[in-house]
């Protein structure tokens, strides 16, 4: 199938984000693909290949990456997704500060309409803004079925549906959506057998986690096409509906104490904090 996957550039979540003068200080941070988007890329590749031991998979269908971000900076993240095995990319050039969830969703919806994929696959949220809105907005704008927070996906060869296992309050909800649909993925989508496409041997187990790009993949990625556009090309205006007035650091936790032994710990928890 043809799958459109989003890949947002975010500050590396392993680095501590600092607030300075009412703004998030992004000087000196390095950027990576939003981890949930990276998982979506992995899920898209697993849907579109006959997986086999040793990573020797037979690919079919098409995986198109969509990244919205600054001129130079988004390229690294898109190339990383292409190096994992995606086929080509669409880069919508925009500064992060000019975007909000609605604008992003309008852009994604426009690219969706141009590309006409069978599936729009996104990470459940970006780990910088943490808004968790874009995919559901796209589904709402386009009047499409949605399945968010999928931890497992099943389909059959040439099927026109997906069965998704959604992480909901208290358990897993099984929801079947006809294609085309909008699906977002949660952490467990990269578990060894989280994606079943009716073509990969059901006994096949993937390595846990998103795949690493091979050297060959990285070399090939450099030659894969990247189609550049602007929001204006897509007819999307940059009128923000949610304006950020500034940031502050969260309240620091008051410094705690070190106890000398288990007996003192139990005493503190029982008599001082009264939590046990």
């Amino acid at each position: 199938m043809k799958i459109l996957v989003t890949a947002k550039r975010v500050p590396d979540p392993e680095q501590k984000v600092k607030v300075k003068d009412g703004m998030v200080d992004l000087s000196g941070v390095s950027y990576v693909i939003n981890p949930f988007d990276e998982y979506a890329v992995e899920a898209a590749l697993r849907l579109n290949e006959k997986g086999a031991a040793g990573g020797k998979a037979e690919r079919f269908g098409e995986v198109v990456i969509l990244s919205i971000g600054p001129e130079k900076a988004a390229v690294k993240e898109m190339r990383a997704a292409l190096a994992m095995g995606a086929d080509r990319a669409v880069h919508v050039v925009a500064n992060d500060d000019d975007l909000d969830s609605e604008i992003v969703a309008r852009i994604v919806a426009k690219v969706y309409e141009q590309e006409q994929p069978d599936l729009l696959l996104m990470g459940k949220q970006a780990v910088d803004g943490d808004s968790n809105q874009a995919a559901q907005l796209v589904a709402g704008y386009l009047g499409m079925p949605q399945a968010c927070f999928a931890s497992q996906i099943e389909t059959e060869a040439d099927a026109k549906w997906l069965r998704t296992y959604r992480e909901v309050d208290g358990g897993i909800e099984v929801k079947k959506v006809p294609l085309p649909a909008v699906v977002t993925v949660d952490l467990r989508i990269v578990s060894p057998d989280a994606v079943r496409n009716g073509q990969t041997d059901p006994g096949h187990k993937y390595e846990d986690g998103p795949r690493f790009a091979s050297l060959k993949g990285i070399m090939k990625a450099k030659k894969k096409p990247v189609d550049k556009k602007t929001p204006a090309d897509l007819g999307v205006e940059l009128n923000k509906r949610v304006v950020y007035h500034g940031y502050e650091a969260p309240a620091e936790r008051a410094g705690g104490i070190k106890v000398k032994d288990v007996a003192e710990l139990l005493d503190k928890l029982h008599n001082e904090a009264k939590v046990i």
């Binding site: 979540p13 392993e14 501590k16 984000v17 607030v19 981890p35 969830s101 609605e102 780990v127 910088d128 943490d130 968790n132 809105q133 559901q136 907005l137 589904a139 709402g140 704008y141 009047g143 079925p145 949605q146 968010c148 927070f149 931890s151 992480e167 909901v168 309050d169 208290g170 897993i172 909800e173 099984v174 079947k176 959506v177 006809p178 952490l187 467990r188 578990s191 846990d208 509906r241 949610v242 304006v243 007035h245 500034g246 940031y247 502050e248 650091a249 969260p250 936790r253 410094g255 705690g256 104490i257 070190k258 106890v259 032994d261 007996a263 139990l266 928890l269 904090a273 939590v275 046990i276």
Partner: protein
Amino acid sequence: MGNVLVLCETKDGALKTSSLPAITAARQMAEKAGGAVLGVMIGSGIEAASQEAAKYVTKLYKFDNADLGNYMAETWAPLVAKAAGEGGASHVVATATNLGKDLMPRVTALLDCGMASEVIEVLDAKKFKRPAYAGNAIATVEVTTDKVVATVRQTEFEPAAEAGAGEVVSLDAGALDALGAVFEKLELTQSSRPDLGEAKVVVSGGRGMKAGENFKVLEELTDMLGGALGATRAAVDAGFVPNDLQVGQTGRVVAPELYIAVGISGAIQHLAGMKGSKIIVAINKDEEAPIFQVADYGLVSTWEAAMPEFIEGVKQIKG
């Protein structure tokens, strides 16, 4: 004037307690916007639940229909939007449960407005504080559209108290269109433990636990305290425990009354997911571990040395 419509979820035929913090936030917004608090409840056989919810709002819109028993964003979003129109609501609010997170952006799309996610403080009718960067920065955001949709973080607002007897108004759901999507089933977690996000106590293990089988010690403590078991990404990556136990920026964000971190060094990614906890206990053999900077009570020890005595002590306290 702007009325505030709040989504009232149900569970087993009753009003879900997780909706009560949203009602509190809705009251704050209604006060700023100069309107009333209205409710909307959707489901099947929700007469009793709707009567219960009506005690918190001036008017409760009810869509009670056999085909609405199972939540689906496709059918529910138009009904929430319909209730908002019926009640002249400028605001639509829900708790940021998984259902709220899934549904509310779709409602936002239908109302063609802006949305603030996971609000932790109401500053003005359209101005809120919300965490970004996994809680490492608190943003002040303003929604600029006439209508406003918001989800609120459950742990940041007190559960609402009853406010009288509101009127229950049944609305006709009309023809439902799920756009071809089918709800097949709900598999409730087999575990007798509470959900990580709702547990009052969370006991988590890190790479320091050395092996999956050693988590049995933590499970014993978890069950004695009626809590949920958690883990770090490192412990998940090492294959000690399944993915869904992960607490952290890319896992679950938790804020229990008591968080006990065992064999956890305190990577940024993990701290982001648990530092909102009320009381944090850290047991780690490395006294320089960053986890001690956020811990209320830190004990420098290996888990092997500390846990048997700790469990024995808890047993005695619990009697």
